[in-house]
Amino acid sequence: MRNIFIEELILAAKKNKKIVLIVNDLGYSVVEKFAKMFPNQFYNAGVAEQNMMGIASGMALEGNHVFVYSIGNFPTFRCAEQIRNDVDYHNLPVTIVNVGAGVSYGSLGYTHHSLQDYGLMRLFPNMIIASPGDDMEVRACMKYIVKNSQPSYLRLAKTKNKILHKKIPNVKPGKWLPISTKHTQSKKIFLTTGNIASLAKDLLIRAKYNKFSLYSLPIWGMKFKNIQLNQLKKWDEVLVLEDHLEDGGFGSWIKESTNNQKIKTKIISKSIDKKIISKVGSEQYLLDKYYLKFFGK
């Protein structure tokens, strides 16, 4: 996903000198091509994330669309107040790019896991959360973000994902995107956001879920909560999947969107077990042990 992101960013920067990339001394083997092609649009802020986010805001204030690229908690929690006061409050075109979705950096441990980031980004009224499920969704999200400059959060997986779409889908904020719709008569679906869509696709093979359809929601956030209810109402059961803790996560967001109105749809969210904290291993190992157990055999 990282390389697809950079490809799309290069495409955008070729057309627009106001596209800027800032890193916090991270991005080895990913950002070099951009830096070489656009030396005046690339900055390394050093290991200083609060300053980096402030600088990004200042550049955005002068009409640039700034992409801030980093891992997990560094461009999010470390500089949360800069995102709140400088980026979101001023409604500035800063895109925060996190390349460590969920437990992408499994063996690097808890400091590098993104398990609470939705919870933070959901709090900002102007922020859109772009959490693509495959490379095609990355392209679609990037095209949307570049065209609609605003405070945004792009959450990417580190490893290569399954291809879920044959071509670049047309994404609309808040609107669910069909991935697998073979059994719509069953009225039961998986709803995912981000990286976890691949895993949901695998679950469809299991007998328990083989009548389920699969939808993803690649772009969401506070602004689009009020358009979830009508989409939920169409189904008997919506199983919401996320590689994030339950509290403040995507599942909570979907549940909140019903605003306690009585609907017949059964909404169940499956989030990562909090016992994952302090555990290490590959992404697959961690998901097997702390997530897939919720789905039975």
Partner: protein, 265 residues
Amino acid sequence: MNTLQNKIIKSIKTHILQLSHKAKSSHIGGCLSIVEILVVLFNSVLRKTSVKRKFKDTFILSKGHACLALYCILFEKGILSKKTLLSYGENNTLLMSHVSHHVPGIKFSTGSLGHGLPVAIGSALSAKKDKSNRKVFVLISDGELNEGTTWEALMFAAHHKLNNLCVIIDYNKLQSLTFVSETIKIEPLIKKISSFGCEVKNINGHNILQLKKALKLKNKNKPRVIIANTIKGKGVSFMENNIAWHYKSPNARELKKALKEVNNA
């Protein structure tokens, strides 16, 4: 000091005192310490564009709690109406008690310390990138020297040779609870900032001529940092150097006394 400038300074201080009294608002000491700095910036330094209420150069007030002083100079410059200025402290006023970008003439909101300087650097960096001769001025408090972002930012500005950036430190030597020297030792300040790669000017922050000279940016490859030595509560004897006036607003008796002192200065 020329008569017109003196008149503006007195008018701003009068409004600060009256509005603090009316709104029962805090931070009067830190407003009075920056009046001369703002007057020189807005009268002699910041270049205007042809668009009304727009400046070519960028100014960011990082010590957002001193917003009342900024609102007052914007009124003097005809950017804010009298009606708007007098709404300070009222419910639903545009003029919140930390500087707001919703107010005409103000580019960036601050209130949490340590934010303005990195943003100013982003603005200066953007000017360099776009080959613009726009300059960026940012006014920070001495309390902000406690913030890590201030030092992260200075290193970055020096590394990128941002000679279009001017950082003004309102060095009034009083913070929120006590003196700077008793909070976190920051001296030797000139040496410290110079060692970070910035050009330092150490001046009297109430002296118009010294301010005018220091605010002329000439260095070819270094950002400028002006240590403006000021007095918190400047111009009102019982407010000067007194921590209480970081919080207190003057009562009717104190207001009368303060106005008399300011106008007889």
